[in-house]
């Protein structure tokens, strides 16, 4: 098979792997922000979940226990954010910043105290990780030119969480536009007073939204430390929570575009890793730093309104206060 084709498949394959945490985190942000609660604490929740997942898996020997713990911890932090921004009507940006720091510090301190490996968790293996699952007939299809190869190499062989991420995109779309919960969620992000006067609790609705955010950040973190990686490393999210936020804006708070935005940013990441400074055809050498900065630059350009307009949910960032 042609070399460039194989390379392309490899890059796309790592695009998928690198997009998954973004996709979970981006959808996580979508639930919260669509409900009118801004969340720049995606990073912290992911990080805490990555730690909790890896620690749980290491201690109990099961990836599923790790995943559950990741979700529990992430939901807890989401509830802290909810308590600050919904119940106490605090500044949502400030609360998000706080959670990022608390997560960054706590994961290292606890990691060091429990495992004494400089803040890392022990390496995970076997049952402690989410390893690739071969889809049916993947091996048999490998020899079919192009399509079979793509099926075997690109589509098959990912961890269960990868498939779950794509399913979550579709599921989120369905929830948002086809269910009562989704209708109310969208409404509360646009005009909470309308929701309140319709006899629905704004507080409870927003709490449910941030819980969804917590669950998905939990999945994002678990994927980082237990599927793509084999254990927790200090600060392993490395800004992915913010890239996810950028992707959310890029996607104008819609689930399917969110998936594409995450794939795009994942692709940029994959390319920059693959290149490591080696020259691109036609363009020539591109500094890796430029590739790394590109998602942020693109988001700024989008925010500047040069390519379409990203209008956030109208009630976003504003605590709801009943008016007389």
């Amino acid at each position: 098979m042609e070399h460039s084709f194989v390379v392309a498949i490899q890059i796309l394959d790592s695009t998928i792997r690198l997009s998954i945490p973004l996709m979970f985190a981006c959808l996580a942000g979508l639930y919260s922000e669509r409900a009118g609660v801004f969340d720049i604490g995606l990073e912290g929740k992911m990080l805490a979940a990555a730690f909790a997942g890896a620690a749980g898996a290491a201690v109990y020997g099961s990836a599923w226990v790790g995943l559950s713990l990741a979700i529990v911890v992430s939901v807890f932090l989401a509830l802290v954010h909810g308590f600050a921004s919904i119940t106490n009507r605090g500044n949502q940006i400030v609360s998000g910043v706080a959670i990022n720091f608390i997560a960054a510090g706590t994961t290292v301190i606890l990691g060091q105290a429990w495992f004494a490996q400089g803040g890392r968790t022990p390496s995970l293996g076997g049952e402690q990780r989410f390893t690739g699952v071969a889809l049916p007939f993947a091996e048999a299809a490998r020899d079919i030119p192009i399509i079979g190869y793509i099926y075997a190499e690109l589509i098959s062989g990912h961890s269960i969480l990868v498939y779950l991420a794509f399913f979550t995109v579709a599921f989120t779309w369905w929830v948002l536009f086809r269910t009562r919960f989704g209708l109310r969620l969208r409404a509360v992000g646009e005009n909470p007073a309308a929701v309140d006067t319709a006899g629905i609790s704004v507080t409870w609705l927003r709490y449910r939204a941030v819980i969804c955010t917590g669950i998905l950040c939990g999945l994002a973190g678990a994927y980082l430390s237990m599927a793509i990686g084999a254990g927790f490393v200090k600060d392993m999210t490395a800004g992915r929570g913010f890239i996810a936020l950028a992707a959310l804006i890029f996607a104008k708070w819609k689930p399917v575009p969110a998936m594409f935005a995450c794939l795009l940013f994942g692709f940029l990441d994959a390319v920059s890793i693959r290149l490591q400074g080696s020259p691109l055809p036609i363009i020539g050498p591109v500094p890796t730093q430029l590739m790394q900065a590109l998602p942020y630059v693109m988001t700024v350009i989008l925010l500047a309104g040069f390519i379409g307009r990203a209008i956030p949910p109208r009630a976003g960032g504003v605590p709801y206060v009943k008016e007389r």
Partner: protein, 510 residues
């Protein structure tokens, strides 16, 4: 028809030290339209919010259909068959009519069947009450009259037997208001109970069966509408006989001070909100602009005072042009003698967290008398503020108090003192007495007349027709962004009302 729909017994509600509702007893008969009138801040909205579960009363009892009930949330109210049409519509702007109607009353977890159920129910309601509206239209594309209809439909869809409307005509043209009244009539005929909250006495007379008057948090009287006159109601409302005309001498018009020609302003959606407006204001006269709220008066004020840009037209001040289509600067205009008392004093005319003295220079903060080079001359500013507080009888007399802690009337006096004390040639003023207590109203009106008598030009915008009629030497009526008529200060209410509805006087006569 004589049984009670709602009974309130001994309702009390305080916010901090303010008693918003005092010992309210009220009995509303089923199948009637009951009006509740009162000035702004009389406690009407608080009372209705208690009934709708938005607030809980501190004490007292609510009975619906004869049974004692507890209304802890809007949900409870809805379950008891109480529906509310809020003054500010509770609609999600980017949802369709249908989505708005089912919100909170979806029935089941999935939307498909609830939407189709709502669609057929909507058709039924449409027929029964003449409430037609396109179920798939997006709310933000609908005119306010239709948005209000959606609010009524929302309540009916939830099976409301008792419908509360809070100041429903504030945003409507007289024609739309008439249509609303026909709908209310229809509702009454179907056996529904309607509670109409308003401060417009004409509406009370036009549509209600009985009426309660509120003043300072208490119900001062409840009467059969047929047995009470407008004058009586007005007296009950304000507590003493109102002076309908402000004492003023004859007008001595001077030079044209402010001249507006073919002014056109569009809003962010590209809709013409001020459409080819022309008029003059001379020294020594008050020109009033009447109109239902939302017909372009606000934008006209903002454009003349340099806050909003026009797309075309000219405005001249003392014969010299103002760059209204470009970079007109409110600061420059102040220097040229144009003072502006804005409609919204809370967020425009004042900075509420500021101390009083800081607000006393807002807009004049770059005047030499308040500055030492780039620095503020704090002593001079405070002394100046104290002087204005004296002259305008602002209470409490403390220039170091946070502005938010002054009452509405005193806040308005702070703005007036600031704008008038610079002796402007032209005053542009919007809703001068909105949310202001009766005592302060007289004071403010007196000041405006004084300005006029000193040969200044005053442009007054108000939605209170009485205020316009009692102060103005000439009245312009705005409708849908256009000036649709000009009348003398002696014009009758009926005449102006027709113009405000967009109906030309002559047409109506034919």
């Amino acid at each position: 028809m004589s049984e009670s729909a709602i009974e309130l017994v001994g309702i009390n509600k305080s916010f901090g030290s303010v008693r918003a509702n005092k010992d309210i007893d009220l009995n509303i008969k089923s199948g009637t339209i009951h009006g509740i009138v009162g000035e702004n801040g009389a406690g009407k909205s608080t009372l209705m919010s208690i009934l709708y579960g938005f607030y809980q009363a501190d004490s007292g009892e609510i009975r619906v259909g004869g049974k004692k009930v507890a209304i802890a949330s809007s949900n409870d109210a809805i379950a008891l068959g109480i529906g509310m049409v809020h003054q500010h519509f509770m609609l999600v702007q980017n949802f369709t009519v249908l989505e708005n109607i089912i919100l909170g009353a979806e029935g089941e977890a999935l939307l498909n069947s609830s939407i189709s159920k709502a669609r057929s129910e909507l058709r039924r309601l449409e027929k029964e009450y003449g409430l037609d509206v396109d179920p798939d239209a997006i709310i933000e594309d609908l005119p306010v009259g239709l948005q209000q209809r959606v609010e009524i439909l929302k309540a009916l869809y939830r099976g409301a037997d008792i419908l509360i409307l809070d100041e429903p005509t504030g945003v409507l043209t007289p024609a739309e208001a008439d249509h609303l009244f026909r709908i209310l009539d229809q509702l009454r005929a179907e056996g529904k109970t309607v509670v109409l909250i308003t401060h417009k006495l004409r509406e009370i007379k036009a549509i209600t069966d009985s009426v309660s008057v509120m003043r300072q948090g208490a119900i001062v009287d409840t009467r059969k509408t047929a047995e009470v006159s407008v004058e009586e109601l007005a007296e009950l409302m304000v507590g003493r006989r109102v002076l309908l005309r402000v004492e003023k001498g004859d007008m001595r018009p001077g030079e044209v001070k402010l001249s507006v020609r073919n002014l056109t302003v569009v809003d962010s959606r590209g809709v013409k909100v001020v459409d080819d407006v022309s008029f003059d204001v001379r020294g020594g006269e008050i020109v009033g602009i009447a109109g239902v709220a939302g017909n372009g008066q606000s934008q006209l004020l903002e454009t003349i005072s340099g806050i909003r840009a026009a797309v075309s037209g000219t405005v001249t001040l003392d014969g010299k042009p103002i760059d209204v289509t470009g970079a007109a600067d409110p600061g420059d205009l102040r220097d040229r003698g144009l003072a502006h008392v804005p409609e919204d004093r809370h967020y425009v005319g004042l900075v509420l967290p500021f101390e009083e003295y800081e607000n006393s220079i807002l807009g004049y903060h770059d005047r030499a008398e308040y500055l030492n080079g780039p620095f503020l001359n704090i002593d001079a500013i405070r002394a100046d503020a104290r002087m204005k507080i004296e002259q305008y009888d602002v209470r409490p007399r403390n220039e170091r108090l946070k502005t938010a802690n002054f009452s509405g009337g005193n806040q308005q006096k702070i703005v007036l003192a600031r704008e008038l004390e610079k002796d402007p040639g032209v005053l542009v003023i919007g809703q001068p007495t909105r949310g202001v207590d009766v005592g302060a109203i007289e004071f403010i009106h007196r000041r405006l007349i004084d300005m006029r008598d000193q040969g200044r030009a005053v442009l007054l915008v108000s939605v209170e027709l009485d205020e316009i009629r009692s102060l103005s030497d000439r009245i312009l009526v705005m409708f849908d962004g256009k000036v649709v008529g000009e009348r003398s200060g002696e014009a009758t209410e009926g005449e102006l009302g027709l113009l405000m509805a967009g109906i030309d006087g002559k047409e109506a006569a034919e």
